[in-house]
Symmetry: C2
Subunit: 414 residues, 2 copies
């Protein structure tokens, strides 16, 4: 089996070739494979056409040691992966009695009975092993033969991901040579990719015996370190050494590692320091509250969020003075400050955060153009504000504002 671990990912579906949906499944699979050291040679997307699929699968089974297929395993006439697999290997499809039982049990759990379409989900091409999914009626199909291991998974993202994690990846790991790959990701905020790169390079902190990647996205830059060794201890040692060198430069910007989100890092600090928080949002419309409460257990520190869109609700709920609104306008540092202290005072939270601005695309004036945003932060009664001038479209302005609020908050809590 181990002679060839060349890997191909095949996505099936007209909705993908035609661009109606973005192929995030292929990216997720590529990244999961990359994580175990088995980066795919290529990704192929094909339409729901039995003959083409059969031909490509047969061809791939000769060239590749590992084939991962996603999509086309549902119960409708569009779902052609099973007939294509049968045709590719010249086998018949049979109904698997054990699968049928598991399927009935699965449906029972939802108070549903078996329909003919459901029954078909227990069909398996000869030579394949069917493995039931915990999250849907479509199974995982697996075939090991002629030096090629093939997995066919449903296209529904959370069904596919669960099967990858519980069934596919553990099996693939066993095929890999005994070399160990360890990886860690340091998440940074408040510094650009090029500045971070310069700082690390100039300080000579870029480690030599590991792979270092800079991965920027909206509002933050990830540092991914990959170490390889003959033993876990060797890889771990390299990783620790690299991290230590990097942290000498990057520590002020690192808020977490290995998938921790900025909002989760903030949550941890708030719990540690026994602080509570409340938010008053105008232009961000609840996006800050939504981000903070996306973390499990946020109720321990998040007291209340207010989306005070109208002047009246800023006055009534937060105690912003009508005179301040009149003098400076709703989009002003003064109002941002009063919103932050107002939400802290009226809720009794230790920290009050606020945002007011022109998200756009309408509502801009020469004085206060689209993208002008003020955010406020009140900690134990001390208020500060910051001004931003974004220029982008509405949703992006809202997202950038919330990223700035979270980044600022995190730096104050650090």
């Amino acid at each position: 089996m181990k002679k060839n671990l060349k890997t191909i990912v095949i996505t099936i579906g007209n909705e993908v070739t035609s661009g109606h949906i973005v192929n995030s499944n292929a990216a997720w699979i590529g990244s999961a494979l990359d994580g175990i050291g088995l980066s795919p040679e290529r990704a192929l997307t094909l339409r729901d056409d039995v003959n083409t699929l059969a031909k490509e699968i047969r061809k791939a089974s000769k060239e590749y040691g590992v084939i991962l297929i996603t999509g086309g395993l549902g119960p409708t006439h569009d779902d052609v992966t099973k007939p294509a697999l049968a045709k590719a290997f010249g086998v018949k499809i049979f109904r698997d009695a054990a699968m049928l039982k598991e399927l009935a049990k699965f449906l029972e759990g939802f108070g549903k009975t078996m329909s003919p379409a459901n029954e078909g989900q227990a069909d398996v091409p000869d030579g394949f092993k069917g493995i039931a999914s915990k999250f849907g009626t479509a199974p995982l199909l697996m075939r090991k033969a002629d030096g090629c291991i093939l997995f066919a998974m449903p296209g529904v993202p959370f069904e596919m991901k669960n099967l990858m994690e519980t069934e596919v990846l553990p099996r693939l790991k066993k095929l890999l040579p005994k070399r160990v790959i360890q990886r860690t990701v340091l998440h940074t905020n408040g510094i650009s990719e090029s500045t971070l790169y310069s700082k690390i390079t100039e300080a000579g902190a870029a480690p030599k015996d590991v792979e270092l990647a800079y991965l920027p996205s909206l509002g933050h830059v990830d540092l991914r370190v990959t170490a390889e060794g003959k033993t876990p201890a060797e890889a771990a040692k390299k990783l620790r050494r690299a991290e230590k060198a990097l942290m000498k430069v990057a520590a002020p910007y690192v808020y977490g590692r290995d998938g921790v989100s900025l909002e989760a890092a903030i949550g941890e600090r708030l719990v540690e320091r026994r602080l509570t928080i409340a938010s008053a949002e105008s232009c961000t419309g609840g996006l800050f509250a939504s981000r903070i409460t996306s973390v499990a257990g946020a109720s321990r520190y998040f007291v209340e969020g207010l989306v005070t869109y109208s002047n009246n609700s800023k006055i009534k709920r937060l105690g912003v003075k009508p005179a301040t609104l009149l003098k400076y306008g709703a989009v002003s540092a003064q109002v941002a400050a009063d919103m932050a202290s107002g939400v802290s005072e009226t809720t009794g939270a230790d920290i009050g955060v606020s945002a007011t601005g022109v998200a756009g695309p309408t509502g801009g004036t020469p004085d206060k153009p689209v993208g002008l945003v003020y955010v406020g932060l009140c900690i134990n009664g001390n208020v500060e504000t910051r001004e931003f001038k974004f220029r982008e479209e509405r949703r992006r302005n809202q997202e950038r504002t919330v990223n700035e609020m979270l980044g600022w908050l995190w730096r104050m809590l650090r």
Copy 2:
């Protein structure tokens, strides 16, 4: 040239095969091609490897009439598309003097001078035509020969999109037979794909002379109708007829068309009917407010949103009675009702919407498990509530709840 318009999209880059970035370029190109009636047969993603690329490009040039390549045209050592093209067709690369001039002018516009890396951007494989980009230094490369038209574009999304729109699509349109494609999408909510399919099929409402696709996603199903004709009038006529037939069945579920979001459809109805709205959220943590305010001009109808996470803030801000919280618990139909009417009363909004539940993963009890959610809707003083039992992870529970709130609200406004 017209004998074969089979189309392939090739994306180049290790960062795409390894899943570090999602291949949204292929989706965008697929959708743009689909829009002119030239839906790609397949999408292929390959690593930055000159030999593999050259081999695949040569092969594709024999099988396909149209090849679109994106990526690998930048100035660094990773960018191997040009050498691959040269190798594929056995030609040399030369420096194009005219391109060099345009490049100098482009850089001048940014106050920059030419570097050696920049100069390389004017290199063109023999037999290709280089077309300068208005948005970057990487050009479009085009080759027409042996019944195959090939375009190589940069991978930077906005550079690629601009070249597609201004150069590639107009040229491809000329190759297409004189037929017209028109398309419309009807967005539905509150009905499953299979039920919608059954209803339309049973009513004989599935139009014969157009293509009908069912495109489901979280919380809604799109009906995409594609009509073809020799003239715009003919295609439009087919489209109108098909829509009329479909609407006989689907009208109660259709909230908009051609890209309108559910929250925008709700906004339109609220403006039409001069109604205002406010929200009181617990488990959804501001996600409802964030969705409603993602629409430009939401300030015309959205008065205020409250994220009342603590019992105390439910009591103080919304007037929920302590006795009700004690008797039924915060996650209950009674509290959802009081939150909806409370937010409507305290803000003066015509409509109050609420959600309270156990988003998870913690906080569940045998009586009130993770995924139990109550939502409330108060319109002019009349309150109703609904119960949902989701079972998924936190973020998905929050999203499904908000989709149900929006769907319900829209049906009440219809």
